[in-house]
Symmetry: C2
Subunit: 191 residues, 2 copies
């Protein structure tokens, strides 16, 4: 992530989208406002770039995690949940900014909405596969996907890197919770 986006993500986290000015961000980066406008059209453009950078960090890891798990949906789900839980703990501040999404105007949010949807579809396809094979017991895979992604997303709101749990420990617990929620054996098929 660029220096601008890094500083902008801190500013947005601390003061929210509406509480942050382009001038604040420029000051943090140590550049002039016109220099900032050279890279990004406006404040909304900066927030979108931050959100897209966050999901661009998440999505390929999730895709790789699923691909590395072979054919077993339980293992695919375990790997995917682990990769998401690591993202929302290691990059908690960045992940928490997803809640600023609602302030984006419809035209601007489109690119980010696409990436978010790809992430949802990745999990939904795993849940659907597991449900077809009878290893998951799920009535509505789309709803279960939304619920589990919501649960994982919420970690970013309380996770504290100075707290007692490491990202790996959080990930391990959420893998268990998510597999249970899908009605799967929680320890089967884990690496």
């Amino acid at each position: 992530m660029s220096d601008i986006l890094n500083h902008a993500s801190r500013a947005f986290y601390e003061h929210g989208f509406h509480g942050t000015t382009v001038r604040d961000i420029a000051r943090r980066v140590g550049v002039t406002v016109p220099a900032l406008y050279y890279h990004h059209e406006n404040k909304e453009g900066i927030l979108v770039a931050v959100l897209e950078a966050a999901i661009a960090d998440l999505l390929p890891r999730g895709e790789a995690a699923v691909a590395e798990a072979g054919d077993d949906p339980v293992r695919q789900m375990a790997n995917l949940v682990e990769s998401i839980a690591l993202h929302v703990t290691v990059r908690a501040r960045l992940a928490a900014l997803d809640s600023e999404y609602r302030y984006l105007s419809p035209g601007v949010r489109r690119g980010y909405a696409e990436l978010r949807k790809r992430n949802e579809e990745l999990m939904r396809s795993v849940i659907e596969r597991g449900t077809e094979q009878g290893v998951f017991v799920v009535t509505d895979p789309a709803e279960a996907t939304r619920a589990l992604l919501g649960m994982l997303q919420a970690i970013s709101r309380w996770y504290d890197e100075s707290g007692p749990l490491t990202p790996a420990e959080v990930a391990d617990r959420y893998v268990g919770l998510c597999l249970s929620a899908l009605g799967a054996p929680t320890r089967a098929g884990r690496d």
Copy 2:
């Protein structure tokens, strides 16, 4: 909830805490700024009052839902999840404001933090009881509580009252998901 808090919650939802001014709120309510200051010390005081009103709506319903369920932890959990899911759908805008919590200064957030904690303890006590009785399979009840409350809280971010699902339908699905996540039989003990 007072007229002031009702209008304030809309303003905070639309523009965030930092993007809302006391003048905006006064204009929406149709009163002068001094009149608003007569009721609330400042903008932070208004946000706290909104957040406290939201949880004051949630907590007694949850306590009653648990009390009405008799001795069975599965039924207690089902009732509690149902009452929370109804709250975050019927009052989605209000429930979504919980994410503005991080902007409160430590002294101001104390009262709200207390109420939030009571809500957590209510769920944790049910999960602990069910775990002791062997109907739930949970390693860490505090962690499971946080995860399930996070999952329920996240509903307020996507729920759309004009969408296909009624609050009761959402509640029903989340009762199933939460009981599964706790390793309980999902349909046993439901009313």
